[in-house]
Amino acid sequence: MTLLYLLVFVLLCVALGYLFRVIELARGLKGGKEWVPTENDNRMMGRMFLVFMFVFIAWSLYQIYQYGYRSLPKSASEHGVKVDELMKYNMYIIWFVFIVTNFVLFYFAWKYYGRKDSKAVFFAHDNKLEMLWTVVPALVLAFIIIFGLKYWNEIMDRSNDPKAIKIELYSKQFDWTARYAGADNAFGMDDYMQIDGSNSMGLDTTDSKCYDDIIVKNEIHIPIGREISFQFRSRDVIHSAFMPHFRAQMNCVPGQVTKFKFKPTVTTEEMRKDPQVIRNMNEINAIRAKKGEDPFIFDYVVICNKICGASHYNMQMKIIVESEKDYKAWLAKQPAFKKDKIALKD
């Protein structure tokens, strides 16, 4: 790190030295109009804009090649495939606009640099041109809006699939707790006043529906191909349950219940065999090996995506997608909230 400091310091000195020299040079010119760009200046800066344009566009495209494979792997949920597809088409549009507009802008900045004897063309307005770049963006946006809203309505559809598995994600500083609805497939009520050591989610112990609810920490398991209907609650501040691989995200807001549902389509095991995931895992493990850290095996996660305090950066839980059979076997091993009381209820 001292090296970096040294580098910064040297750069600083070089910059300062250069500056003062330039100032002195400029001083020598005093009497002339230093501030007016000469034709040479205009040509030089025009050329620099042109060079910048090519380098900038090339570099931005190179980053797709360099970093593109690191973006989220294929979607692990049904709706996520559509989100990705929409993203792809939108990306084509914005890359096209980005490149063409920047190209034209910097090209003009070079092409029409100020020459001594030339005069600009007086061109104050043109209704046809202005109509063109009002209507064309409007048409493109119409498509973007129509498809965006179509998918949005599908994803956010609030009608319930009766066969959906209900899971509640409960957030607090700084961890996640999950609750499965249990045998009756219904959540018991909650009451934050009842939170204590043995009832960390604040379930209402007078509501018999909560007795068979299953509370788990550290990881949740979900079966492939079944709709998972998540609901979210928070104990203290706003958190956000971000499940990037499923293209799912929802804030957890104290005092209210929010919802998001998706259908997982790729098991954890399958995702670990995805070429893009393997490539990234290898890259991560090479880095970790150098630092002497344990190797990393890919897992789905839910991470916090709303600033929530000092350990916001480390609020995560594993999600495991597996076959229905494995899921059932795992769930059967998890204890119910009040086992003893279930018997009483019956």
């Binding site: 910064v8 025009g46 570099w59 802008l105 600009a120 973007i144 203290d236 104290p254 916001h312």
Partner: protein, 609 residues
Amino acid sequence: MGNSHDHKVGVEHGHDIHHAHAHDDHHEESFVSKYVFSMDHKTISRQFLVTAVIMAVIAMVMSVIFRMQLAWPGEKFAFINALLGDKWGKDGVLDPNMYLALVTIHGTIMVFFVLTGGLSGTFSNLLIPYQIGARDMASGFLNMLSYWFFFLSSTIMIGSLFIEDGPASAGWTIYPPLSALPESIPGSKLGMTLWLISMSLFIVSSLLGGLNYIVTIINLRTKGMKMTRMPLTIWAFLITAILGVLSFPVLLSCALLLIFDRSMGTSFYLSDIYIGGRAMDQVGGSPILFEHLFWFLGHPEVYIVLLPALGITSEIIATNSRKPIFGYRAMIGSMLAIGFLSFIVWGHHMYMTGMNPFLGSVFVFTTLLIAIPSAVKAFNYITTLWKGNIQHTPAMMFSIGLVSSFVTGGVTGIILADSTLDITVHDTYFVVAHFHIVMGLSAIFGMFAGVYHWFPKMFLRMMNKKLGYLHFWITFIGAYGVFFPMHFLGMSGVPRRYYTNSNFPLFDHLGDINELVSVFAIIAALGQIIFLINFFYSMFKGQKAPQNPWNSNTLEWTTPAAQHIHGNWPGALPEVHRWAYDYSKPGSDVDFIPQTVPLAADEHDGGGH
């Protein structure tokens, strides 16, 4: 003689009579009334600028500190220890709470103090009276108050950096309950109280300024300065001021309710909370209410930041292309459209709050509509360059940079505005990249452009062109180097406001992108030293400015070059006969015709032939 004439003009335009007295030669002002509690728009403008420059430097150093942490997490930097001491930078490693505090205050200072107070405060104050041909603002006193509220508010914000528990650290958007509960984060103790006090004073400053700008523009235009002859800068400042006056009071009420929740036990934003080992009494409130109120200001705020920069750019691009701005009326129309739409899009910050999805759909629609007037503006700028005779002054280059960043950052807005796509990138680095490029860079570039261009009117001297070039290239390249790669972090799912991305292994391989970003950030930050040297050096030692250094048409260049006078013009106020954009007009020998030159018999105004 001059005085009696002035008198007449002043009365004619409903102007305060006392200005005429200011011209009395024997009237001497004390240092305090001239430089400290000044009511002169030019002095107030300079006060805003210098304050904003200092605030910007502080915010920039903060960004360098947290960028070092993000690129080299856990590394020990003597630099960090030296600045933050053992408490926040023990052994040179940044404390996680301080990280959040730095991110918060960096955002607050940049958005409010530099790009709202600094940008509007400097250029609205300087240019409104100058470019509409007025002796001063409608109320010099309110204008002075506006600055001193801003100063006080800045002082409190900076002061909050030095208290025991550290400054506010709930993010610049200060969402409760995090900002409401002192148990949740140390920054929500005294630091947040100071933040709220500071922002309340800031809002007062902004409203006093904004009302003054609106009244001045509407009432004090000189003879012949029709609305349709105003330079686009003035249109931009007018629309900005209207947005501010309509939206800042909402932020004040938003903050006020938070103050109540924090100190009086009300529950506007709080409900069902268990923290610090106890269940709180407050029930029935909703943090989402805060978000609605906050973003009702917060989104217009984006345009409060952006429009002045676009106005400045319009003026500079036309002047230095030696061409009329293309589509003057379309430019005004698109600014009005952007201003109007900015009030009905705030919900796009809240797609993931659990807000009714149908409401989300409405905001998708309104938000994407903004792309249309924005596209019109961008293409009009580019067409203004077409077949121009472009004078590459540093101001012009920053303006071209603005158009580039406006487009580059604007297009990613299409992704974020689309609620479906927002699910994946909401609150990730994609957002950080987007708003820094479209709002941060564009507005800062606009501000730099304005400083280089109007420095001669502010300090009567010229800035050094070569240093300007150097500063431009370092800033421009550095800025894209910082923010472009961030898109890729976002596409990889990296959330923003993470103290480190390597606490769990998922993002371990993205370290090199973070290092790249931080190196560019450090270079760009060092590049600003060039600007500071040029700025302060030129202020005292720069070449003396001539009357009209850029051969520009607008009225400010008809004021005396050698000195600032109270009242702006020594004799009568200038009379305006044409729009501001008669550059390279056919039939004229020179390539500019100032607004004060009467129309020839066969000449049409406003770019008609």
